[in-house]
């Protein structure tokens, strides 16, 4: 099956730093790829570059047959008819001066999808699909809670009936009891509208829950990708292993078990260089000079399990 999204050697450079450094991956139609990484790993930049919201410095991003990689300006507009984004901060992602109806009507008008009664019908259907009543339409964002705002943000992405959505930390700003509502909503919409997701989060448990396949990002590079079950059962990259070891679990017995496996002390290898493996400085398995000489390529260690490590 041809992938819906194909990203090849995508790089985004800001001033001197490479936020995204030669990233490649595919997403099959109907699949959810979970992208996980710590703050500053470049996962949000990658998400924005994939849909062309940020023009890439080099490389390709082909979504639904449209190559947007390094395009700027209105050339990207054609893609957004079919690829949309759900943002992180429900307080920043809605224009405070626009009613819900106006916010939802924007894409319909700009893309010339529908107008008048037809647009009205679409707006109603979409907001209701996202779990808000039509009575919400004439109101302003400030009248809604964080969770409700996130529903509005999802409706805005959904209204063009895209087939691909980048969800950038869609639940991390929400309270725990609200997170589950939004995760469930995104999963319901996926099956109802046949969506494909790139789901970005720093929460490993959320990523495990929503993803078919998971990509782990560290300092601008993908270090491991695998089907969710495989990755969580047998992580191969030392960084993935560290991440998974670090997360406490809400079960006292399991937590005691986890802590037994954690060595605790942080590793610092002074031999690491900028040319080598990005994780070399913190890696407990690093061997020098191999790890400081050359950055390892992402390569298949098992079918569908790619790891970027010299020794994994």
């Amino acid at each position: 099956m041809t992938p819906l999204v194909r990203v090849t050697q995508l790089t985004k450079q800001f001033a001197k730093t490479r936020a995204v450094d030669g990233v490649s991956f595919d997403i099959a139609p109907g699949e959810t790829l979970g992208l996980v990484g710590e703050s500053g790993s470049g996962k949000s930049t990658l998400g924005r570059a994939v849909v062309g919201l940020l023009p890439a410095t080099s490389g390709e991003s082909i979504v639904d047959g449209q190559n947007v990689g390094t395009l700027r300006g209105s050339a990207r507009k054609a893609l957004w008819r079919h690829a949309q984004m759900v943002f992180q901060d429900p307080y920043s992602s809605l224009n405070p001066k626009m009613t819900v109806r106006d916010a939802l009507a924007e894409p319909l008008r700009n893309f010339g999808i529908a107008r008048g009664a037809e647009a009205d019908k679409l707006i109603r259907e979409t907001i209701e699909a996202c779990g808000l009543p039509a009575s919400a339409l004439p109101r302003y964002p400030r009248e809604f809670s964080g969770g409700q705002r996130q529903r509005i943000g999802i409706a805005r992405a959904l209204i063009v009936r895209p087939n691909f959505i980048v969800a950038d930390e869609p639940v991390s700003a929400l309270d725990v009891s609200i997170q589950a509502q939004i995760i469930n909503l995104l999963q319901d919409l996926k099956s109802e509208f046949g969506l494909t997701y790139l789901f970005i989060a720093h929460d490993l448990a959320v990523i495990r829950h929503v993803s078919d396949r998971v990509a782990v990002m560290y300092r601008g590079k993908l270090v491991e990708t695998a089907p969710a079950a495989t990755l969580y059962a047998t992580p191969r990259h030392p960084y993935t292993q560290l991440l998974l070891r670090s997360v406490p679990v809400p079960d006292p017995k399991a937590e005691i078990e986890r802590r037994r496996n954690v060595t605790g002390a942080e590793v610092t290898n002074a031999e690491a260089t900028d040319n080598g493996c990005p994780f070399a400085a913190r890696c407990p398995m690093a061997k020098f000079p191999t790890c400081s000489d050359k950055a390892p390529e992402l390569s298949a260690k098992a079918s569908d399990h790619l790891v970027a490590c010299h020794f994994a």
Binding site: L53, M85, F87, S92, S93, N95, E106, N110
Partner: protein
């Protein structure tokens, strides 16, 4: 809120009045002051029948019933001169503020919205303009090109835009990085539509504050020029009246007191209004 708005209100307390009186005290006092001044200046012929230019032999009279603010050295009625002088001050203030706000808004919006090298260049220029002693520049230019309403408006307006540009640019930069702007782009909006429909509405209140402070500052600048003898003698403004008052400082206190009160009242009103609209004194306090 909704129920309050739909309830019928008595004629003497319509909803807008109630809302106005509930706004910050500085807004209320500020707008009342401005209102009084503007009304006085516009309705000058109804308030006094005296001609501000008519000379008489009653020179340097103390304030009395016939001349509530006294008369000047040429026997002109000071009340009339203050009222009509306000026209010159307000007109110059309004028009130069209009010029500087339009300039500042355009430059601030462009710099904040496009960022990068454009922003860098525009901000360096803005900074340079801000460091320049603007009143002294105005003095030199007006001395060279001659005084007159138009020249004063142009000079003050062209020198005062940096304050507005910086406020607007700062605000636009904040908004530019809000996620709803990225969302608007992805909604297929052109950059012009993003700017007009998504950025501008979130800048308007800052623009109002800036405009009100600009009018105050322009009136102040004009009075400075007039005081140095660079005003338009055909349209004597408050500053010009104060310059004349300086000559008779020890003989005729009323010639400095009354025009000064009018001037200070107007500027205070506008500053209060700016403070009140910004919701706190912080916006006014951080205009740089």
């Amino acid at each position: 809120m909704k129920t309050a708005a739909t309830l019928p209100t008595p004629w003497f307390a319509p909803a807008w009045l109630v809302r106005f009186l509930r706004s910050p005290i500085s807004t209320v006092v500020g707008s009342l002051l401005v209102l009084v001044v503007v009304a006085g200046v516009i309705l000058a012929p109804l308030i006094t029948h005296a001609d501000p230019m008519a000379l008489s032999s009653d020179t340097l009279l103390e304030p009395a019933w016939a001349h509530p603010m006294g008369t000047d050295d040429l026997g002109r009625d000071e009340l009339a001169r203050v009222l009509y002088g306000g026209r010159a001050s307000l007109v110059i203030g309004l028009f130069s503020a209009l010029l500087s706000v339009i300039l500042g808004m355009t430059i601030g919006m462009v710099a904040g919205f496009f960022g990068g090298a454009i922003d860098e260049t525009l901000m360096r220029i803005t900074e340079a303009f801000q460091i320049l002693p603007k009143l002294l520049v105005a003095v030199v230019v007006v001395s060279l090109i001659g005084s007159g309403l138009t020249n004063e408006v142009l000079v003050i307006g062209l020198l005062s835009w940096p304050a507005t540009a910086r406020v607007i640019r700062g605000r636009v930069q904040v908004i530019r990085h809000e996620e709803f702007i990225a969302a608007a782009e992805m909604s297929g909006a052109s950059w012009l539509r993003v700017l007009v429909r998504h950025v501008a509405p979130n800048v308007v209140s800052f623009l109002l504050v800036s405009a009100s402070l600009q009018v105050a500052s322009a009136i102040m600048s004009e009075s400075f020029l007039s005081f140095l003898g660079l005003g338009d003698p055909a349209h004597p403004s408050w500053g010009l009246l104060l310059q004349q008052g300086q000559l008779f400082l020890s003989d005729a206190w009323w010639l400095t007191t009354f025009p000064g009160i009018a001037l200070a009242m107007t500027i205070l009103g506008l500053n209060l209004l700016g403070d009140g609209v910004s919701g706190s004194r912080i916006v006014a306090g951080s205009r740089r």
